[in-house]
Amino acid sequence: MNLSIFDIIVVVAYLILIFFSGTLVKKYVKGIDNFLVAGRSMKFHLGLLSLMCTEIGMITYVYYAELGFKSGFAALIVAFPPVIAYIFLGKTGFIIKPLLEMKLSTIPEFFSRKFSNGVRLYIGIIMAIGGILNFGVFPGVEANFINIVTGIPKDYLLVTMVVMLTVVLFYTAVGGMVSVIVTNYIQYVLLSFGMLFITIYGVFHIGWGNIVTAVTKEYGEKGMNPFSPSIMEGQFGFGFLVWQILLWVALLVGWQAISMRLFSSKDAKTGQKIYTWSGLLFLSRAIMPILWGIMAIAVVGTEIDSLEALPLLLVEIIPSGLLGIIFAALLAASMSTYASYLLSWSSVVSQDIIGSVVTMVTKKELDSKTQLLVSRITMAGVMIFIIWWSLFHEMEGLLYFYLNMTGMLFIPGVLICVAFGIYWKKSRTLGAYLAITFGAILPMLYLIWPTEVQDYASEIGWGGFVVSVIGMLLGSTIQNIFQPKVEAESV
């Protein structure tokens, strides 16, 4: 065991605190609106804090650190596209303002209002597949991380996953978004301390000069310059940046865990303000973990599994006695993400798939109590699936690209449908179906043959958006020719 008795006491105290504060708020959950979007009562600072907690998980640290470990300082360029996307959407209100004014609970709801229940069901299914495949690698990667940091033998990988997820499942299923926000507060205190401590302590402990020397020795010019050999040919060159900016704009509109935070905000103005300021925090969310990966080059060398670079670095540099607090901070990051993702992906399944089917068949909506029950059962189902997927799925290529591509299964379709649905009066149901379908084809190629097509990740990325636009224009034009009246549309 790498943890001392003091470390273990700190971790257990944290778990007890989270468990009780998460479950005690059950009394505030009076209906599905409180459960999913906390009664739309979240103000600016709390919204910002909760959004950060959702999007900073142990998995975030691992994939960003892997990028830094594999590409050196050049990987830091990856931190800028989200900043651009957040500030652009927050300042202009492009897409998000109309969405906030519609008072949605989930993004697919937009599809039934603008297009049809059939489109909502279709995007709900693709979203659930992409989202859950994305979420499905979290437990395996994180349990491995926990095992290395704590020194728990790898034979206990499954037990580690189950214990951690059960605690999260329990308080999320009981208190929904209210529990998530309350526990997020405690988790943010810990995770922000942990991130700052690792960054500052790491740089002083290892020495800036040693870090730079290790990167230059290992990667040369490429490790410093993201555009080496040229802006068009570089690993993080023009094509990559275009793809990442499009991806982030789309994620901020259609990534369920992020948009649910947006929908929980008090009003459109608060939602926009949360996005503008998130840009600044998202810069640090990427810069710090990438730097940890870069530090690992200097401390543990490059002859190891890249996903293990960060946990090995932490074991090497964090003094015993402080490891418990840092570990609790990492657990906090992990659990806050699990809680939000469980809530958001299960809400897509319960609201947009099961709910849509029930509405289509019975012509009636489920009552609030049944919706709550369905949401809670779905959560348990999602949890069982991701544990199973984590045990059997083998990762090929960089984790960052796998996560991007699973999201890309629905993200181009969502962005194009929402943007055209809001701003183009001639957008039609057939256009939405084709935009979603076309947008999913290229990322699917990456997920099926990752090794063969990994050199074309950027082209697949921005290409997904281009073909999705073609699908929307083509489908809407055809439908406008053969079925000109919008009123004539049916499910």
Binding site: G39, F44, L48, N225, L280, I287, M288
Partner: protein
């Protein structure tokens, strides 16, 4: 190579300081908002 090193050092320092500042701010002001949210939900 040296220019790259300075640029990245500046980016890292800026992001660390801004993260520390924003974190203190959201933790301090977020507590009041959390209490208010729970009060409103409990009505």
């Amino acid at each position: 190579m040296k220019t790259g090193e300075y640029i990245w050092a500046a980016v890292i320092i800026f992001s660390t300081i801004s993260f520390a500042y924003m974190s203190v701010k959201v933790i301090y002001k977020g507590l009041g908002e959390l209490k208010e949210m729970l009060r409103n939900l409990g009505k």
